[in-house]
C-alpha cells in the first residue's frame, strides 16, 4: 500500500489527548477511523504548520527507538513527510509499548489552522503508509483490551461529552438496540448502503452504494449529483460549495433516511444543519467524488458507532 492520503477538512472539531514517550509528551490528535497511521509533529519540523503545534522531541524520551524509515502522507493539497520511530503511546490510560509513530519533518500549510497536532488512525493495518502497525492493532496484540472493538460517541451540543471507548461498548452512549452491519471491505470501515430517501422517495444511492464510516470527515459526503439532489430536496442552495438554508425553517426540513442492512437511520434537519455566526446555516451534506459515500461526524453524532475488529462489523445505535 503506497503513501496514504489524508484530508484537509477544515470543519473537523473533535480531538483527544494522548501522550508519547518517557517522560510523557502530550499531543492533541484526531481519532480518525478513515486512516491507519499515528503521526505528530517532531522538533525537526519547521513548517508554519508545526510551529504552532506541540512537537515531539525523541532525544528526551528514554523509550524512543528510531525505525529509520521515511514516511510520506499525501493530502488533497499537500503532503507531510517525516520518519518513523517507536515509543510508548498512552491512550486513555493504556500504555501501548513499541508503537510505531510517524514524526513529521514537513507539513502542509493548511495544517497550521487545525487545533489538533496530529492524527491517530484507527482503520485496518493494510491501509497504513510504510506498513506501520496501527495503535488499536497493538492494543489487541498486547492484550490490553477485553474485546477487540472500540466505539465513538460524538456529542453535538457541548464542548465536552464526546468519548472514544477502547475495548468495548459504553451503555451510557446509546439507547435502543445495536444494528450490526457486516463490512463490505476490511480496509476502511466500509459498509453497503441500500438507498437514501427523503419523504419516502429514493433520492440517492438507488440500487445500493458503498460508504465509509469515518470520524475523520466532518460531513456526510457523497457523489456530486446525489448530494445536489438531497440538498435541493431539503431546500438548500449552493453558495461556493456550502449548501445554505434558512435558519428559521430547520424544524420544517424533511428527514434524510439512510437505509442500511434492512434498517433505517434517520438524520433529522436539526442534525444535518449546522449554524455559525459567520455564514448562518448550512447543511452537512457535502460533495465528494464519483461514487463513494462518507458517513462522517454529522452521521456519527446521531448514531453511536462501534467498530468491531473481532467481527469485522460496524455497530450503529441511536446516540
Amino acid at each position: 500500500v503506497g503513501g496514504e492520503s489524508m484530508t484537509n477538512d477544515a470543519d473537523l472539531a473533535y480531538y483527544g489527548i494522548i501522550s508519547i514517550g518517557t517522560p510523557p509528551q502530550s499531543f492533541k490528535v484526531i481519532f480518525d477511523t478513515g486512516s491507519s497511521n499515528l503521526w505528530i509533529p517532531s522538533i525537526y519540523c519547521n513548517s508554519p504548520a508545526c510551529n504552532n503545534h506541540d512537537k515531539f522531541n525523541p532525544s528526551t524520551s528514554s523509550t524512543f527507538r528510531n525505525n529509520g524509515h521515511a514516511l510520506s502522507i499525501h493530502y488533497g493539497t499537500g503532503s507531510m513527510t517525516g520518519f518513523l520511530g517507536y515509543d510508548t503511546v498512552t491512550v486513555g490510560g493504556l500504555a501501548v509499548k513499541n508503537q510505531i509513530i510517524g514524526l513529521s519533518e514537513t507539513e502542509a500549510p493548511f495544517m497550521q489552522y487545525m487545533r489538533a497536532d496530529g492524527i491517530l488512525g484507527l482503520a485496518y493495518p493494510r491501509l497504513a503508509a510504510s506498513g506501520a502497525t496501527p495503535v488499536f492493532d497493538n492494543m489487541m496484540s498486547e492484550n490490553l483490551v477485553n474485546q477487540d472493538m472500540f466505539s465513538v460517541y460524538l456529542s453535538s451540543d457541548t464542548q465536552r461529552g464526546s468519548v472514544v471507548t477502547f475495548g468495548g461498548i459504553d451503555p451510557n452512549h446509546y439507547s435502543g438496540s445495536i444494528s450490526w452491519i457486516p463490512l463490505s471491505r476490511e480496509l476502511y470501515w466500509q459498509i453497503t448502503v441500500d438507498s437514501v430517501t427523503v419523504n419516502g422517495e429514493v433520492v440517492a444511492c438507488n440500487g445500493g452504494c458503498q460508504a465509509i464510516v469515518d470520524t475523520g470527515t466532518s460531513l456526510i459526503v457523497g457523489p456530486q449529483s446525489s448530494i445536489s439532489n438531497i440538498n435541493s430536496k431539503v431546500g438548500a442552495t449552493n453558495h461556493n460549495g456550502d449548501y445554505l438554508v434558512n435558519c428559521n425553517s430547520i424544524a420544517q426540513m424533511p428527514d434524510v433516511i439512510f437505509h442500511i442492512h434492512g434498517e433505517t437511520f434517520t438524520i433529522p434537519g436539526s442534525a444535518y444543519v449546522r449554524q455559525s455566526h459567520s455564514y448562518g446555516c448550512r447543511t452537512g451534506f457535502g460533495n465528494g467524488g464519483d461514487n463513494l459515500w462518507i458517513l462522517g461526524d454529522v452521521f456519527i453524532r446521531q448514531y453511536y458507532a462501534i467498530f468491531s475488529r473481532a467481527q469485522n462489523m460496524v455497530g450503529l445505535a441511536t446516540a
Partner: protein, 43 residues
C-alpha cells in the same frame, strides 16, 4: 474494563480562519477534497 479518551469539541480551522477573515483565501488555495483520503482502488 473500558479505556476511554474524552474528546474535546474545539474550534474548527474554518472558524479560526473566518474570524481572521482568511477563509475565502484559504478555501480557494486549499480546495477541500474529502475523497483525498480514500484511494479508489481500496474503497
Amino acid at each position: 474494563c473500558l479505556f476511554q479518551v474524552p474528546l474535546e469539541k474545539g474550534k474548527t480551522a474554518r472558524e479560526t480562519l473566518e474570524e481572521q477573515g482568511l477563509w475565502e483565501e484559504y478555501r480557494l488555495k486549499y480546495p477541500y477534497n474529502p475523497m483525498a483520503k480514500f484511494e479508489d482502488s481500496f474503497a
